[in-house]
């Protein structure tokens, strides 16, 4: 252990010492100082948030409806519950979607809720849900309906699966129920799993669309700020066919044939790894962990995908596209690099982004000194090799683990055993290495950071940027430091791919150099000016 690491460890211990005993127990192990000489370092993650702590986490419903189901544009997602949950998850994640033809369905700008009232809580809400579905069918004629449950639904025992079955029979419209009550898990993560299960059980594998050449699914890409569109543009330029995107700008229709793709790309590991694994188990489809945020990461991803298919023409086209894209962005990137270099950042986002954005930050000369996730699991920190050792507990046992067997008709392996072995050495094939391995010694990794810890780390690390979400943003600004939202991109984007990197660099450079920061202290509070300005005023008078 170096002095730097030891000193930082003492600091972390100091922060923890303010907690009452039970809160200390709840937070112990969630904060580590990276020390690669001690590898593998174990994180405590995906456990309950300590009550009373100002957490940044959300709930199971937010993970299911808000993250995974919400972006599917051709389905009517009905929130079954009181009005709040549907209202708050209405248009707030910036998952964009567009339609090609006027007759195509796009319900993204709509919020559908059963707006349960007290009588529904007392007498049950199934009838109201049935009626709501009838009204949806009558007004919108959707091809797909999804029901997302909120807290009271499970408590009063509404059987939303029975209602879904009734709706399918009554109207011939596929209706899927998600029992994603907010309390079901310790964070959004449980909701991702529930959504993954629902889509895999009821949608994926039911379609028969023709497979194009070099066909891909992009998993865990939610098209925030148009990221997915930028990724698709690059992949299509190279010559890939996109079978489906889960779920940004995605459709239920596309998802049905996702099992036919040659390869799955996994962007957000946390929210979609269940589908990636289930596709592999049932259909033999491999997945690669990609990261389209950052120039080097994007290049790496493109090269890995080309190498997976192994066709020279594809590899050549990939290199040509990389060269062309790089030539276009490099001069502008250099300008922003000059403005940003030497700064430090803290990243606390979601379940993958604190990992994804580090490359992009380092490409403009910014080191990440603290990183962490709201709702990640141990594998997101330590790598997938830890999965067999993750202990089951009352909370994660709550979520169904689907038992998958190979599909006799559609199971196929694209790679020979030898080739698979060879590629596994060269890329993240069906593997994710996690966050800790990319961090430097002495840096901090925090799981489920809370308001108090964030405030303390801001004081100690004094970073130039704290990149997080809206709940943290204005706290950081009050401290006179820049905060960048990496959930919503501060309503900018895309940040993915080559062109997105420039937009990101521009936004960060703009945020760091906006004159507001230099105006915080008024002249009369800057000691050296006090006397002078007073005299000046006197003279004018």
């Amino acid at each position: 252990m170096t002095d730097k690491i030891k000193k930082m460890q003492d600091t972390v211990n100091g922060i923890m010492s303010k907690y009452p005993a039970s809160a200390f127990k709840g937070r112990k192990g969630h904060v580590i100082v990276v020390d690669h000489s001690e590898a593998p370092q174990e994180m405590v993650a995906d456990t309950r948030t300590v009550p009373g702590i100002i957490t940044e986490r959300g709930c199971t419903y937010a993970g299911c409806k808000g993250v995974v189901v919400g972006p599917l544009k051709d389905t009517v997602a009905i929130t079954h519950g009181p009005i709040g949950c549907g209202y708050y998850s209405w248009l707030t994640r910036r998952n964009r979607g567009r339609t090609e033809k006027p007759e195509d369905h796009n319900f993204l700008a709509y919020c559908f809720s059963t707006d349960m009232q007290e009588t529904d809580i007392v007498f049950g809400g199934e009838k109201k849900l049935q009626k709501a579905i009838s009204e949806v069918v009558e007004i919108f004629h959707p091809k797909s309906i999804m029901i997302c449950a909120t807290c009271p639904v499970g408590l009063i025992g509404d059987d939303i699966n029975a209602v879904a079955a009734w709706a399918e029979k009554e109207y011939g419209v596929q209706t899927i129920a998600f029992s994603c009550e907010g309390y079901k898990g310790v964070s959004q993560s449980a909701g991702h799993h529930i959504a993954n299960n629902g889509l895999f059980k009821h949608v994926i594998g039911t379609g028969n669309a023709l497979k194009g050449e070099y066909s891909l699914n992009i998993l865990g890409e939610y098209n925030i700020g148009g990221d997915g569109w930028e990724i698709e543009r690059i992949l299509k330029t190279i010559g890939y066919t996109i079978m489906s995107v889960m779920s940004g700008d995605g459709t239920v229709e596309q998802l049905k044939s996702a099992h036919k793709a040659d390869l799955n790309l996994v962007q957000c590991h946390r929210s979609i790894n269940y589908v990636a694994e289930m596709l592999r188990e049932k259909y033999g489809t491999d997945w690669i962990k990609v990261n389209f945020l950052g120039i080097e990461n994007t290049i790496q991803a493109l090269r890995d995908i080309a190498k997976y298919f192994g066709e020279q023409s594809l590899i050549d086209r990939t290199e040509a596209v990389i060269a062309a894209e790089l030539a276009e962005i490099e001069p502008e990137m250099e300008k922003y690099r000059e403005m940003c270099k030497g700064k430090t950042a803290c990243l606390f986002v979601g379940g993958s982004r604190a990992n994804h954005f580090q490359g992009l930050y380092s490409e403009i000369g910014i080191e990440t000194v603290l990183a962490g996730f709201e709702f990640a699991h141990r594998d997101d920190y330590e790598g997938r090799e830890v999965i067999p050792f993750i202990k089951a507990n009352a909370d994660n046992k709550n979520i169904e683990n689907l038992v998958i067997t190979p599909d006799p008709k559609h199971y196929r392996l694209l790679l020979s055993k030898d080739k698979y072995k060879e590629l596994s050495q060269e890329m993240s094939l069906n593997y994710f290495k996690g966050l800790i391995k990319i961090m430097n010694d002495g840096n901090i990794v925090v799981d489920d950071i809370n308001h108090y810890e964030m405030e303390q780390f801001m004081k100690i690390l004094n970073p130039d940027i704290f990149a997080s979400g809206i709940k943290e943003k204005y706290v950081i600004h009050k401290m006179g430091k820049l905060s960048k939202q990496l959930h919503s991109y501060d309503y900018s984007g895309p940040f993915a791919g080559f062109k997105g990197a420039v937009i990101f660099a521009r936004d960060i450079a703009m945020g760091l150099t906006t004159p507001a920061w230099s105006l915080i202290k008024p002249k009369w509070k800057q000691d050296t000016h006090l006397e002078g300005s007073y005299v000046y005023v006197e003279e004018v008078i």
Partner: protein
């Protein structure tokens, strides 16, 4: 934009599409932030608090700190008493607030949590306070939640000491910090000694100084809320957000009250000033009378820009009641007036205003924006006034929008600026007439372009 909204209305009894309200605990959280050094706490799943905080963050662009009981399935089945007690212990140890204001959620209400008993069983440090309000999400709206939490302040804190403090209580209702500042300025101008609660000014519009404090300078002091039981009277602004609390204060401490329309526009502000004058015995100040004259001057000068224009307005009931009155004073035609908050009183009050002005409109409580959009499709308007969600309808139908109410998440500064009082009236006229004129400038032919308007 909103291409799937048909012109023809099909009656809906169960499905809400594009709501014009949200749930109670959000309003309760906002009200609680208006107490000095208060940490709001949500007794339910942690997602609720995440949603309230982020929604308030987006409207105010300010930190919103609030804690949660972080229910998991075990707590949902066996009760969240131990969660709440642990939460209170942690909150007082870590964040050191003076008071914690607990609101319930649909989860904790459905399982019937007994919050007062939990509070009694909790370890609350000497000199600190814990209050609560029942705010089931399946009743009313965020405005009901605001009202319930304000009432909770009265129930737990207000006390009559037997001696008058010579002050007026003002309950401002669910308005912006900019409005709360304006109400206080009016009271100071009237030389009235007052207690206003809740007061989010100085909390949700705190300055950036480079130093962060979890509890900023603003908010009503606990001792003042306690002292509200000794006041001369209470002015409750807005029937939906404030009247219940004023009644509670009357019941508990025998403080008389007047229920007033949220002071938007001339008449409602006039009434507010006269009510202050009545309780305080001070005349309306020359400063405010001058401001009033300025607004009337503006109204005479600019009426041609907005007179007779048809307006669709939506939002929270108290704000809409005040705004409807003002639009009528401007000679505009409110055509559709819709709130998501349930309550027949709203329709009654607004219809009364309209009939007094010799006009009528479609007025609806417990409505949604899908309905409003369909009305507009059937018979359009010149202007929409409402919150950020209105911009989708505005774009779909190519109708200008004036942003008013809560939430406004796509524009800044609004939360600092008043819509109440005469200053607020001036600002509203400026926003309405500029928006209409921008549209004229955009649509007019080159040869018809006017330099002076």
């Amino acid at each position: 934009m909103l291409d799937h909204t048909p012109k023809e209305c099909i009656e809906r009894k169960s499905l809400v599409i594009n709501p014009a309200k949200t749930c109670q605990p959000l309003g309760a959280t906002y009200a609680a932030l208006g107490i000095h050094r208060c940490l709001p706490h949500s007794h339910g799943s942690q997602g609720c608090q995440m949603y309230f905080r982020s929604h308030l963050n987006r409207h105010f662009r300010e930190p919103v700190e609030a804690a949660t009981s972080s229910f998991t399935e075990g707590a949902a089945v066996f009760g969240g008493g131990s969660n709440l007690k642990a939460a209170l212990k942690n909150i007082f140890a870590i964040y050191e607030p003076d008071i914690v204001a607990i609101s319930t959620t649909c989860l904790s209400e459905t399982i019937g949590e007994d919050i007062p008993t939990y509070i009694l069983q909790a370890q609350v440090p000497e000199g600190k306070y814990v209050i609560h309000a029942n705010t089931p999400s399946y009743q009313g709206s965020h405005i009901t939640g605001f009202s319930n939490m304000t009432k909770g302040m009265v129930k737990y804190l207000s006390a009559a000491g037997g001696k008058s403090n010579g002050k007026i209580n003002v309950l401002p209702g669910f308005v912006n910090p900019g409005d709360m500042r304006e109400i206080k300025r009016i009271l100071r101008s009237m030389k009235a000694d007052y207690i206003m609660f809740p007061d989010t000014s100085g909390v949700l519009d705190a300055p950036l100084t480079g130093e962060y404090h979890i509890f900023p300078e603003g908010g009503t002091k606990i001792k003042d809320i306690i002292d509200s039981g000794n006041s001369l009277g209470t002015l409750a602004l807005g029937h939906f957000a404030s009247t219940d609390s004023a009644q509670e204060l009357k019941k508990k401490c025998k403080v008389p009250y007047q229920a007033l329309t949220t002071p938007i526009g001339i008449t409602a502000t006039d009434d507010f000033l006269m009510a202050i004058a009545e309780f305080s015995g001070q005349p309306v100040s020359a400063e405010l009378e001058e401001e009033r004259g300025q607004v009337i001057d503006i109204m005479a000068d600019l009426h041609q820009h907005y007179y007779g224009k048809e307006v669709a307005l939506f939002g929270d009931p108290d704000m809409l009641t005040g705004l409807t009155q003002f639009l009528l004073e401007l000679g505009m035609k409110p055509k559709y007036i819709l709130t998501g908050t349930p309550g027949d009183l709203f329709e009654k009050e607004v219809n009364q205003m309209l009939s007094q002005a010799g006009t009528q409109a479609k007025v609806k409580s417990a409505g949604d924006l899908f309905t409003l959009h369909q009305w507009i499709k059937q018979d359009p308007v010149d202007l929409i006034i409402g919150n950020t969600y209105g911009k989708y309808i505005a774009r779909a139908e190519d109708i200008p929008l004036v942003r008013f109410g809560f939430p406004i998440m796509d524009r800044g500064v609004h939360s600092y600026m008043p819509v109440v009082g005469y200053k607020g009236a001036m600002r509203l006229i400026e926003m309405i007439s500029n928006t209409l004129l921008d549209r004229v400038d955009r649509d007019t032919a080159d040869e018809d372009m006017e330099l002076i308007m």
